[in-house]
C-alpha cells in the first residue's frame, strides 16, 4: 500500500531495493507491534508475578516497604488493572504492621491502602477478594487505636468480611480474615481462639484444594497455618 505514494520516476531497481526495505520495515514493525501488543499483558502478568514472589519472600519492614512501592509503581502505570491496585493495598497493610512507626503515620498508611482497595473495587465491583481486603485493612486501622475504634470498626470489618464470604463461599481468605479478626478480638468482646479455629479450619480445607499458579489472589495459606499453630 505504501508503494502507491511513491514518487514517480524512480527506476525499477530502486523500487525493488526499496521494496525489500519496505518488507523489512513492515516485518519489523509488525513484530514490534505484535510483541509490544502481546507483551503489554505478559509484561503486566510477569510484573505482578515478580511482586508476588517479593511479597512471599519478604520479612523485614524495609522489604515490605519495597514490595508495596513496587506494586504502587505498577498500579500507577496501570490504572485500569484491578490486581495492581489490589496488591498495592494488600502490601501496604504489611507496611502498616510496623509498630515502630508512629500511630499517625500508620493511620495514613492504612488510609492509603484503603484508597487502593476502593480503586480496585471500582474497577472490579462485587469481588470477594476485594471485600476481604477492605475488611482486613479496616481491622488493622482499628488496631492502631483499639480503645477508641474497636466499638465501631470491628463490626464494620466483620460486615465486609461476611460480604466477602457471601460473594464467593469458595474464597478461603474471607474465612481466614474473619478468623483472624476473631483470633485478635478478646473473648469478652465476642472474639476468641475457639471461634477463630472454626473459621480458620474452614479456610485451611479450601487452601488445600486450591492451586495457586495465576496472578489472582491466592495468598493466605501460610498465615492460616501459623494462626492455627498458635491456637493448638
Amino acid at each position: 500500500m505504501l508503494t502507491r505514494n511513491f514518487p514517480t520516476g524512480l527506476n525499477q531497481s530502486t523500487l525493488s531495493r526499496n521494496r525489500n526495505h519496505i518488507r523489512l520495515i513492515i516485518t519489523g514493525l509488525a513484530v514490534f507491534l505484535f510483541t509490544a501488543g502481546l507483551s503489554a499483558q505478559d509484561r503486566f502478568t510477569a510484573a505482578i508475578r515478580k511482586g508476588i514472589t517479593m511479597m512471599d519472600s519478604t520479612a523485614s519492614s524495609a522489604a515490605n516497604q519495597e514490595t508495596a512501592n513496587y506494586f504502587e509503581r505498577i498500579a500507577n502505570a496501570e490504572p485500569g488493572q484491578w490486581l495492581a491496585q489490589y496488591y498495592t493495598g494488600l502490601t501496604l497493610i504489611y507496611v502498616g504492621y510496623d509498630e515502630s512507626k508512629d500511630r499517625e503515620t500508620r493511620d495514613l498508611i492504612f488510609d492509603k491502602a484503603m484508597e487502593f482497595a476502593d480503586k480496585a473495587d471500582k474497577l472490579h465491583p462485587q469481588n470477594s477478594d476485594i471485600y476481604a481486603l477492605k475488611g482486613y485493612i479496616l481491622f488493622m486501622k482499628m488496631a492502631v487505636a483499639p480503645q477508641s475504634r474497636a466499638m465501631t470498626m470491628i463490626p464494620a470489618s466483620n460486615t465486609l468480611l461476611e460480604k466477602a464470604i457471601a460473594l464467593d463461599p469458595a474464597n478461603p481468605r474471607g474465612y481466614l480474615l474473619k478468623g483472624q479478626n476473631l483470633f485478635y478480638t478478646p473473648e469478652a468482646f465476642g472474639g476468641g481462639k475457639e471461634k477463630a479455629a472454626v473459621l480458620l479450619k474452614q479456610a485451611a480445607v479450601i487452601f488445600e484444594t486450591q492451586n495457586n499458579n495465576g496472578i489472582e489472589p491466592s495468598w493466605g495459606k501460610r498465615r492460616c497455618q501459623s494462626l492455627l499453630d498458635k491456637i493448638n
Binding site: H21, D102, L108
Partner: protein
C-alpha cells in the same frame, strides 16, 4: 530516502530500547537520609525504593524525557523532569514532612473534641460511658475535663465561671432548648440524651465558631452516629430500672426503637438519702430513630424522644420557716430531623428541623405552678472547600419559641421569633498557619434588636506535634425566659472571650494548656431580697441589663493512652478567678457555682484475664461561696472543699450465650462529707446545709446485646 530514515529511526529505537541508563542518587529530609521512598518514572513500571541510607539506584531501559515522582507516607510527594540519554544520572532529592496530612494545624483554641475517629479527639464516646462517677451521662463525663466545674446542686454544665444556662447543647447542629429535665431544689439532674446516640462530641469552652449562637460560655456539639452495622436487640436491667431497644438494619436504612423505665424508689430505700422524698423520681422514656442513606453522601436522620418524669419531695427551701412540699411533673417531646448531602460541584448542604416541647407542672405546698416551653427551629448551612483545605461556610436559622408560666390562677407568657445568619471562612497560609474568621448576626423579636458577633481564631504549628492558638469572639444570649416573660424591654446579655492555648499531641499523649479572659456585660439584674431559689415561679422587679463580670484563669490537661498497657488516664486542673454582678447581687461577687481550683484524675484499666475494666475518678473542688444573711459581705462565706472518689467496674461476659456487661459503680467510695452550701430561712435564724442527695451512691446493672456478637453498647 524517507523510508530509510524511518527504518533507521525504528532500528535505533528498537536498539536503544535495549540500552540502559543508570539513575541513582539520594533522598534526604532536613539533612537526614530518608529510607523507603518510592521513586517511579511516570507511565512505566520502572523505579525503586531508597535504602536505609536514603540512596537509590535503578536502570531505565528507555531514553527520553520522564517525570520522576518520589513519594512516601507522611511527606509531600514531589517530582522532577529528567532527560535520559546515554549518560548516567545522579540526583540529590529532598522531601518535606507533610504537615497537612500528618499533623495539620487546626482551629482548636477553646475546643475539646471527643469522637471515635477524629484527630484531636480528647474523649471517645466509650470514654464518656465508662468514666467512673459519670454513670454514662455525657455532661457528667465532661465535668472531668478542664474548664468545667462540678455542678453540685444545679442542672447544667458550668464552664469557666459561667452559669449552667450559658452552655448550650447542639444536636446535629440544632440548638436544644434544654438538655436537662426539671430543676429540683438543690439537685443536679442528668442530661436527657444517651451517650450512645453520639459518635462524637465537640465541647467548646469558649471562642467557638460563628455557626453557634445563644450561648455565652460554651457550646456542646453532639454529633449522632451513622447507620448501625447490624440488626440486634439489647436490654438492660439496672438497680434503678429497665431498658430495651431493637435495632433493625436494612441495606441503606435503619430503625432503632427503644424504651426505658426508671424508678429510684427501691434504690433509695436501701441507700440513705439526705432528701426527704415523698415519691422517689420516676422516669419513662421512649425513642425512635430512623436513618436513611439517600445517596452516596446524602444522609437523612430523624430522631424523636419522649420523656416523662415525676418526683415529690419535702424541703426546707424558700422563704417560709416551714418545710415545703414539692411536686414536679415533666413531659418533654423532642424531634430532630436533619438531612445532609453534597452537590456535584462540591457544596455541602446541611439542613435541619427541630421541635422541642416541654411541659412542667407542679406544686409548692398548695400552690400550683406551670412552666411551658416550646421551640421550633429550621436551619440551613452551605459549605465548600476552596483551593485545597480552605473552607467557606454560611447558613441561616429561624426559630420560634414560646414560654408560659402559671401560678395558681395567674398566668403569663411571651413568644419570640429569632432569625440568625452567619458566614465564616477558614484559610491556610501554607501548612503551618490557619485562621478562621466569622461573623454571626441574630434578631430576636422579643428584644426587637439585632446583634453582630465577630469571631476570630488563629492557629500556628509549633514543632511537629504541637501548635499554638489564639481566639477571640463576641457572644450574645437572650436573658433567661423567666426574665423575658416579666419584662419585654430587656437587651442581649454579652460575653467576650480571649483565649490562648498550646497543644501537644503525639502517639497517645495529649498535653494542653490554655489561658483565657472572659468579660461579661449587659447581664440581667433584678431586685430580690436574699438569695433566690429556682423552683416554681418567681417574681422579679426592676429587671434591667446593668450586670457585668469577668472570668480569667487557666486549664491544664494531660492524657496518656500509651505508657501503661491496657490503661489510660487523664489529669485536668483548672484555676479560675471570677466575679460577677448579676441577678440580685449588690456588687461584684464570686458566684456559688465557681470554684477557684478544680482537679480531676481519671484512670481506666482493662484487665484481660478478668475480662474486666476498672475505672476510677478522683475529683477535688475548692470551697464555693454561699449566701449568709448575717455576713455583710454578699456571698462572703465559703464551704469546705469538695472531694469525691468514684469507682466503676465493667465485667464482660455471656448470658445465655449473648454478649453481656455486668456493671457496678460507687460514687464517693471513702464517704467524704461534702456540703454544697447552706440555705437560710427568711428570718435568718435557721441554717440548713445543702447536701448531696446521697452521701454515697451505688449502682449496679446488667446489659445484654442479642444478635450482635461484637461489643456495641
Amino acid at each position: 530516502m524517507k523510508q530509510l530514515a524511518l527504518f533507521i529511526t525504528l532500528s535505533c529505537f528498537l536498539l536503544t530500547a535495549q540500552g540502559q541508563i543508570n539513575i541513582s542518587g539520594t533522598v534526604k529530609t532536613n539533612g537526614r537520609p530518608l529510607p523507603g521512598v518510592n521513586l517511579r518514572l511516570v507511565g512505566t513500571y520502572e523505579g525503586t525504593s531508597s535504602d536505609s541510607t536514603g540512596a537509590f539506584h535503578f536502570i531505565s531501559p528507555e531514553p527520553g524525557t520522564f517525570t520522576l515522582v518520589f513519594s512516601i507516607t507522611g511527606y509531600k510527594s514531589d517530582s522532577v523532569k529528567i532527560v535520559l540519554d546515554s549518560a548516567a544520572l545522579n540526583l540529590s532529592l529532598t522531601m518535606k514532612a507533610d504537615m497537612i496530612e500528618l499533623n495539620a494545624v487546626t482551629i482548636n483554641a477553646g475546643t475539646l473534641e471527643t469522637g471515635d475517629n477524629k484527630k484531636g479527639a480528647v474523649l471517645t464516646s466509650l470514654d464518656v460511658a465508662t468514666t467512673a462517677g459519670a454513670v454514662a451521662d455525657v455532661v457528667a463525663a465532661l465535668q472531668t475535663l478542664p474548664g468545667t466545674a462540678q455542678a453540685f446542686g444545679e442542672n447544667g454544665l458550668f464552664v469557666r465561671g459561667g452559669t449552667g444556662a450559658e452552655t448550650q447543647a447542639y444536636f446535629d447542629g440544632m440548638l436544644v432548648k434544654s438538655a436537662f429535665g426539671s430543676q429540683l431544689p438543690d439537685m443536679a439532674g442528668r442530661s436527657r440524651f444517651s451517650p450512645f446516640l453520639f459518635k462524637g462530641t465537640s465541647f467548646s469552652t469558649g471562642g467557638y465558631s460563628a455557626q453557634y449562637g445563644q450561648a455565652l460560655s460554651s457550646a456542646l456539639l453532639l454529633e449522632t452516629k451513622d447507620l448501625p452495622e447490624k440488626t440486634s436487640d439489647e436490654f438492660s436491667i439496672l438497680s434503678v430500672g429497665v431498658s430495651a431497644a431493637h435495632t433493625q438494619r436494612w441495606k441503606k436504612s435503619s430503625l432503632v426503637v427503644g424504651g426505658s423505665y426508671y424508678n429510684l424508689a427501691p434504690l433509695y430505700s436501701v441507700i440513705g438519702q439526705n432528701i426527704d422524698w415523698i415519691r422517689a423520681p420516676e422516669e419513662v422514656q421512649a425513642s425512635v430513630q430512623f436513618k436513611q442513606q439517600v445517596s452516596k453522601r446524602g444522609m437523612l436522620k430523624i430522631y424523636s424522644q419522649f420523656n416523662r418524669t415525676r418526683a415529690d419531695l419535702r424541703t426546707g427551701f424558700g422563704q417560709s420557716q416551714d418545710p415545703a412540699d414539692i411536686v414536679n411533673r415533666n413531659n418533654n417531646y423532642y424531634v430532630n430531623a436533619t438531612y445532609k448531602d453534597e452537590t456535584s460541584n462540591g457544596w455541602k448542604i446541611q439542613s435541619g428541623l427541630s421541635l422541642y416541647i416541654n411541659n412542667e407542672t407542679g406544686k409548692v405546698n398548695a400552690n400550683q405552678y406551670k412552666l411551658d416551653n416550646d421551640q421550633y427551629q429550621v436551619r440551613l448551612v452551605f459549605s465548600r472547600y476552596l483551593f485545597g483545605r480552605n473552607l467557606i461556610r454560611t447558613g441561616i436559622e429561624s426559630s420560634y419559641n414560646k414560654h408560659g408560666e402559671g401560678w395558681n390562677e395567674l398566668g403569663r407568657h411571651f413568644n419570640n421569633r429569632m432569625q440568625a445568619g452567619f458566614v465564616e471562612t477558614e484559610f491556610y497560609l501554607g501548612s503551618k498557619f490557619v485562621t478562621r474568621v466569622g461573623i454571626r448576626t441574630e434578631n430576636n423579636s422579643i428584644l426587637s434588636a439585632w446583634n453582630l458577633a465577630p469571631r476570630l481564631s488563629f492557629a500556628l504549628k509549633a514543632g511537629i506535634h504541637g501548635q499554638l492558638a489564639l481566639a477571640y469572639g463576641s457572644f450574645y444570649q437572650n436573658p433567661d425566659d423567666t426574665y423575658l416573660v416579666q419584662n419585654h424591654d430587656l437587651d442581649y446579655e454579652k460575653a467576650s472571650h480571649f483565649i490562648f492555648n498550646y497543644v501537644y499531641q503525639h502517639s497517645g499523649i495529649t498535653f494542653r494548656a490554655e489561658t483565657y479572659y472572659k468579660r461579661y456585660s449587659s447581664l440581667t439584674k433584678y431586685d430580690f431580697e436574699g438569695y433566690s431559689q429556682n423552683i416554681g415561679v418567681n417574681n422579679f422587679t426592676n429587671l434591667r441589663n446593668t450586670g457585668k463580670g469577668y472570668a480569667k484563669g487557666f486549664d491544664i490537661f494531660f492524657r496518656d493512652r500509651t505508657s501503661i498497657p491496657g490503661a489510660q488516664y487523664w489529669i485536668s486542673y483548672s484555676w479560675l478567678d471570677t466575679r460577677r454582678d448579676f441577678r440580685n447581687y449588690p456588687a461584684l461577687a464570686v458566684p456559688p457555682f465557681a470554684a477557684r481550683h478544680s482537679l480531676n484524675i481519671v484512670y481506666k484499666q482493662y484487665i484481660p484475664w478478668l475480662k474486666t475494666e476498672v475505672g476510677t475518678t478522683y475529683t477535688f473542688s475548692s470551697g464555693r461561696t454561699y449566701y449568709n444573711p448575717h455576713n455583710p459581705v454578699f456571698l462572703g462565706n465559703k464551704t469546705r472543699s469538695f472531694n469525691n472518689l468514684s469507682l466503676n467496674i465493667s465485667y464482660l461476659t455471656r448470658v445465655f450465650n449473648e454478649f453481656a456487661v455486668v456493671y457496678a459503680s460507687v460514687t464517693n467510695l471513702p464517704g467524704f462529707n461534702n456540703i454544697y452550701g447552706y440555705n437560710y430561712s427568711a428570718d435568718g435564724t435557721k441554717m440548713n446545709p445543702i447536701l448531696p442527695a446521697a452521701n454515697r451512691n451505688i449502682f449496679i446493672g446488667l446489659l445484654v446485646t442479642i444478635g450482635d456478637n461484637t461489643f456495641n453498647h
